[in-house]
């Protein structure tokens, strides 16, 4: 079980190798398969997370939630997507057609590209990049522009207000997100995800960096535009923000991309603070990739819990909280971590 996926990859490699393919072509095909598997995982995961969200919210509100389509309503989102595909994709007359169509196509690109460096289990990382964490931060920053582009191209006042909010919010919360991760990087001295996980063998960084984790958590909720920071699509104010004019599958892509981003920030939280695929209490008989997924879905549940517990904050509160509370706190966290590490080294513990 532990080496299920690793041996599967090795099996495919040897199969291709015996088929008379060159070393280079084999590498290429295996990498292609790995990335394809990640792609399928993310898309299926996004689909089921919509169901999970609805179930979680239902139980939190003493309802039952979807329970008609399939066993326990498990096929509800599949039916929803079927409905959305069959709907007409309406392009507004005054919209910037090309950009309007490009928006939902490009929105999945940044999260999918980042998943290539995510370590899903022991030896289960598609590309073991030296600067993995930095790569995540760099590519994740691109989704801001894509959402803004979609909102601007819609040529709708609600879309425009929403997309400006996206830019303001995501730029403001990218700062504390990056700065909260710096604490972990100071402790490990590496940007490689696998090395960061190995550094947590004795103690998870959530215990060494509790403040960093808290800041990361809050900033991550804001980065994924979810409640209580879902000003971007505050229904009561601006209908659906940048996605107002999108119908059918275009809307569904933005909707699913939100869940892909939730999975992404949860994967990063697990890797950086919760010990990645390391098993707690020496429970190593459970495979590492199951531990990893368990932790990721625990984080996702936490995000859903936030969403159905807290009311939406106001725009000015959002900005004040980001710049006057989170950024100074994260800088203080870096300062304390740096001094702590220096003391630790000089005392020779």
């Amino acid at each position: 079980m532990e080496n299920l996926f690793v041996s599967m990859a090795a099996g495919i490699r040897s199969l291709l190798g015996s088929g008379g393919l060159s070393e280079w072509a084999t590498d290429f095909l295996v990498m292609f398969l790995k990335l394809g598997a990640i792609l399928v995982y993310i898309l299926v995961s996004a689909l089921w997370l919509v169901y999970m969200e609805r179930k979680v919210s239902a139980y939190m509100q003493c309802r039952i939630g979807p329970n008609r389509v399939g066993p326990m309503g498990l096929l509800q989102t599949t039916a929803d997507i079927g409905k959305l595909i069959s709907k007409e994709f309406i392009i507004p007359k005054d919209a910037d057609k090309k950009l309007f169509l490009l928006g939902p196509i490009l929105i999945f690109m940044p999260p999918l590209a980042v998943f290539a460096v995510a370590p899903f289990g022991k030896g289960m990382v598609a590309i073991d990049m030296n600067i993995g964490v930095y790569y995540f931060l760099a590519l994740a920053s691109l989704s801001t522009v894509i959402i803004w582009m979609a909102g601007w191209a819609s040529n709708n006042k609600y879309s425009l207000i929403g997309s400006m909010r996206v830019v303001a919010q995501m730029v403001s919360y990218e700062m504390p997100l990056i700065l909260s991760i710096v604490g972990v990087i100071i402790l490990t001295g590496t940007l490689n995800m696998s090395d960061i996980i190995h550094a947590q063998e004795n103690v998870w960084f959530i215990f060494l960096q509790p403040l960093g984790f808290l800041i990361y958590l809050i900033a991550a909720v804001a980065e994924t535009n979810r409640a209580p920071f879902d000003l971007v699509e505050g229904e009561s104010e601006i209908i659906c923000g940048p996605f107002t004019e999108y119908s059918g599958m275009g809307f569904a892509m933005f909707f699913l991309a939100e869940y892909a981003n939730v999975v992404l920030v949860s994967v990063m939280a697990t890797t950086l603070f919760l010990g990645g695929w390391l098993a707690p209490f020496g429970l190593t008989f459970i495979p590492s990739w199951i531990w990893f997924l368990l932790k990721v879905y625990l984080m996702i549940f936490l995000f859903m819990w936030f969403r159905w517990t807290y009311p939406r904050v106001r725009v000015d509160q959002l900005m004040e909280f980001g710049w006057k509370v989170l950024v100074p706190l994260s800088i203080a966290n870096i300062f304390v971590t740096g001094i702590g590490k220096y003391l630790y080294h000089s005392l020779g513990w």
């Binding site: 030296n130 600067i131 760099a138 920053s141 691109l142 801001t144 522009v145 830019v167 940007l191």
Partner: protein, 172 residues
């Protein structure tokens, strides 16, 4: 170039950079220009990757494509225009511009051809970040900190200026 693949990648990236840069200056819609500028920055990041400078490539994406273009977006949105068409003014004086740019290109080309480019025979380091840190924080710590202070002063100054305008607006 190591092999035919890196040459192919370089040609594609160069085409991407030049093509999108040309579109940035010729398109009449400022928003389209900003978006093509992002494509151009990503192309430059790809060139850095081709040269095994992965950290610089990520900086290029984060700082230029992610942050600088967002600043441009703010600038675009502050432009008060009913629509964005013809918002990017173009100088059509080809007769003046073409010889000037052509001459500059020839001068740069000649200088590049004449100069002896020093090529280091060393292997490309696998880890560039670890080599960068001591340079930034030991050897050049004073310029690094001065730059940081300069940026902080600029940021605070901008905030102060904005605050003053706001107070006047409320007063009148």
């Amino acid at each position: 170039m190591d092999n035919v693949y890196s040459l192919l990648a370089f040609v594609l990236l160069a085409g991407m950079i030049l093509g999108s840069a040309l579109l940035v200056v010729t398109l009449r819609n400022l928003v389209h220009s900003v978006l093509w500028l992002i494509v151009m920055f990503i192309g430059v990041a790809g060139t850095f990757l081709l040269l095994n400078a992965d950290f610089v490539a990520a900086v290029q994406v984060l700082v230029y494509a992610g942050a600088v273009c967002i600043m441009l977006v703010f600038g675009v949105m502050l432009v008060q225009r009913p629509n964005m068409e013809h918002s990017n003014p173009i100088n059509w004086r080809f007769k003046l511009a073409a010889p000037l740019v052509g001459g500059l290109f020839i001068v740069i080309g000649l200088l590049t051809a004449k100069s002896q480019l020093v090529v280091s025979g060393q292997e490309v380091p696998a880890q560039t970040v670890q080599a960068l840190a001591p340079i930034l924080l030991n050897d050049f710590v004073i310029p690094f900190e001065v730059a940081a202070i300069l940026l902080t002063v600029a940021l605070t100054g901008a905030l102060l200026l904005v605050k003053e305008v706001k107070a006047n607006g409320n007063g009148s």
